[in-house]
């Protein structure tokens, strides 16, 4: 008698458990980003006609993209962490048509605020927690733990397509320089 009750109890528990797992999975998938959100998202940047040492802002997948045509002499006025090299020499810059560009996602790697660019000081300062970056997106002052992130890009002539991985991006990625 009690064997039979045990069996029914376990069978009920097993089915209810399966149902609960299925419901959990469905709930998780409901919270996933929608396919339309994931599919949207190539931005073409036209780099011809940009002035040097001036910040341009575009948008890719809802995130701000910061673009600077880096001037030959882009040394930050001061670097609290000692990293005061000339940003023009930075390997993270992207060469397009003989000029060097910083193209990064404009969200501070600390908590995602947009840093402001001060062209006279050749550096970014984040308004939220005071992090600083040079004109190539390298950290000059904590709390940000890593440089500004370079989005996947592909160079075609004077244009750069964001969202596609071109050979230049893959090279940077292999050298571990994109983030």
């Amino acid at each position: 008698m009690s064997d039979r009750r045990d069996f029914f109890g376990k069978a009920l528990g097993a089915f209810a458990g399966l149902g609960a797992l299925g419901a959990l999975y469905a709930a998780k998938r409901t919270w996933d980003p929608l396919p339309s959100v994931k599919a949207a998202g190539f931005t073409t940047l036209d780099l011809s006609g940009l002035s040097e040492n001036k910040l341009y802002v575009d948008k890719w997948r809802g995130k701000p993209i910061l673009i600077i045509k880096v001037a030959k002499n882009s040394k930050p006025n001061e670097a609290p962490n000692g990293n005061n090299k000339n940003a023009y020499e930075d390997p993270r810059l992207i060469s397009v048509g003989g000029h060097k560009y910083m193209i990064v996602i404009g969200l501070c790697t600390h908590l995602g605020c947009i840093p402001d660019y001060f062209s006279d000081k050749h550096k970014f300062i984040c308004p939220c927690h005071g992090g600083q970056f040079n004109a190539a997106g390298e950290v000059l002052k904590a709390p940000p733990p890593s440089p500004l992130v370079i989005p996947p890009f592909k160079i075609t002539g004077n244009k750069v397509v964001l969202g596609e991985e071109g050979p230049e991006y893959k090279k940077l990625k292999e050298s571990g320089l994109v983030a």
Partner: protein, 410 residues
């Protein structure tokens, strides 16, 4: 089978009592729920919180009728429709905003009262823990509600707080995108936070309020001296007519009348704020619509989150997150970190007296430092205050272990 009197008139007292045991219910929940006499106005904070939650619920119902959870329409539905067109829409919004802010002030007073009088010890641990769960739920409710007007501060607070879930160097960006339902806060994000704010979190809060009251029923509330009262014995005295000698009073109507008096004073202040000083609960930055391409010059949370936000700020990313996580959970462990058996006000408890007041001052300093821009001397003060907070909790088990028994407590 139970006995049902065939002559009882439908819905008469007897008829109801036979079917619902209304007499027993009334005794257990109100007329024979005993409250010590030896208490002060700080014991009214619980009912004030319950009443404020009621105000939030009611004003929220009216706001819900016109609010539109759409990234293109949300801002106008609040700032144009509700504030400008809906008759008395401004009243519901200001009541909701002001109550959301003052409810945290009362929660902090309620918590600090509990800490000061040792009302989390010896049988009252679950009151403390369910109360902390309520604090966390109210925080989630306040944060999700803050997203809904879809202003600049909504958007950027949403960005910064959801980024915390990447857990620093673990770089769990997939988790952050999953929480948002997008690469950045967008329609999916607004929709789910709307659901959390108007349904799931209120349900959780209501369930926790019931649990919180339930945890209180057997140990009863503490009193000003931490005296262990034999509630059954004292209740007998009250019921026998020895009301002067008895150390307790019934919750209803005796204690409740005192509660209502304190509540009245509270509501006078509350409605003064609603009608004349609502702006303190309305951040001007949030009157600009959300703009994903422009960070406000200075992002800060509402005042009640500032102290824990300031614990995050002075450290590097990973250490900051650990310190922040510590600040979020450490209060839960208070009943177990306090190793002294003394249930007594802090001022009779030796070193704990200093611990308590340093904690209060430190949290006020952290709150102020969280509001000012992160530079110069403020960074230094913030760092010292954050370390003080962590050290206070580290020393608590030791200073309470050394504590001498207070007279009268076992």
């Amino acid at each position: 089978m139970a006995h049902f009197d065939p002559n009882a008139k439908p819905f008469s007292h007897k008829w109801l009592d036979e079917r619902l045991a209304v007499d027993t219910l009334q005794k257990v929940l109100s007329t024979e729920y005993w409250i010590p006499k030896n208490i002060n106005f700080l014991w009214a904070m619980g009912m004030i919180l319950a009443a404020t939650f009621g105000i939030l619920l009611l004003s929220g119902i009216f706001l819900l009728m016109y609010y539109i959870p759409d990234t293109k329409l949300a801002f106008d539905s609040v700032n144009h429709t509700i504030m400008g067109e809906v008759g008395y829409g401004w009243l519901w919004r200001h009541m909701h905003g002001v109550a959301a802010s003052v409810v945290f002030l009362i929660i902090y007073i309620h918590m600090l009262t509990g800490i000061y009088y040792g009302s989390y010890k010896r049988g009252r641990e679950l009151i403390w823990i369910s109360g902390m769960l309520l604090f966390v739920s109210f925080s989630a409710e306040a944060f999700s509600g803050y997203m809904l007007p879809w202003g600049q501060m909504s958007y950027w607070a949403g960005m910064v707080i959801t980024n915390l879930f990447s857990l620093g160097s673990l770089n769990l960006n997939g988790l952050v995108e999953w929480i948002r339902g997008d690469y950045v806060p967008g329609q999916a994000f607004l929709g789910r936070f709307f659901m959390l704010h108007v349904l799931l979190m209120p349900l959780i809060i209501m369930a926790l309020i019931v649990l919180h009251f339930g945890t209180l029923r057997i140990p009863h509330v503490n009193n000003q001296d931490g005296e262990e009262i034999d509630f059954e014995e004292e209740a007998k005295k009250w019921k026998a007519g020895n009301r002067k000698e008895s150390k307790v009073i019934p919750f209803n109507p005796v204690f409740l009348s005192k509660d209502v008096f304190v509540m009245s004073i509270y509501f006078i202040i509350y409605f003064y704020l609603v009608f004349y000083h609502f702006e303190f609960a309305m951040d001007p930055v949030n009157f600009d619509p959300a703009d994903p391409l422009k960070t406000p010059p200075h992002i800060y949370p509402e005042w009640y989150f500032l102290w824990s936000y300031e614990i995050l700020r002075p450290f590097s990313k990973n250490a900051g997150l650990i310190a922040f996580g510590f600040a979020q959970v450490i209060f839960f462990f208070l009943p177990f970190l306090d190793r002294s058996a003394n249930v007594a006000p802090a001022n009779r408890r030796g070193l704990f007296k200093y611990w308590f007041w340093i904690l209060v001052v430190d949290m006020i300093v952290l709150t102020i430092m969280g509001k000012v821009p992160p530079m110069g001397i403020y960074t230094t003060i913030g760092t010292v205050a954050a370390w003080t907070f962590i050290l206070l909790w580290a020393v608590l088990p030791f200073i309470t272990k050394m504590e001498k028994p207070v007279r009268g407590s076992k």
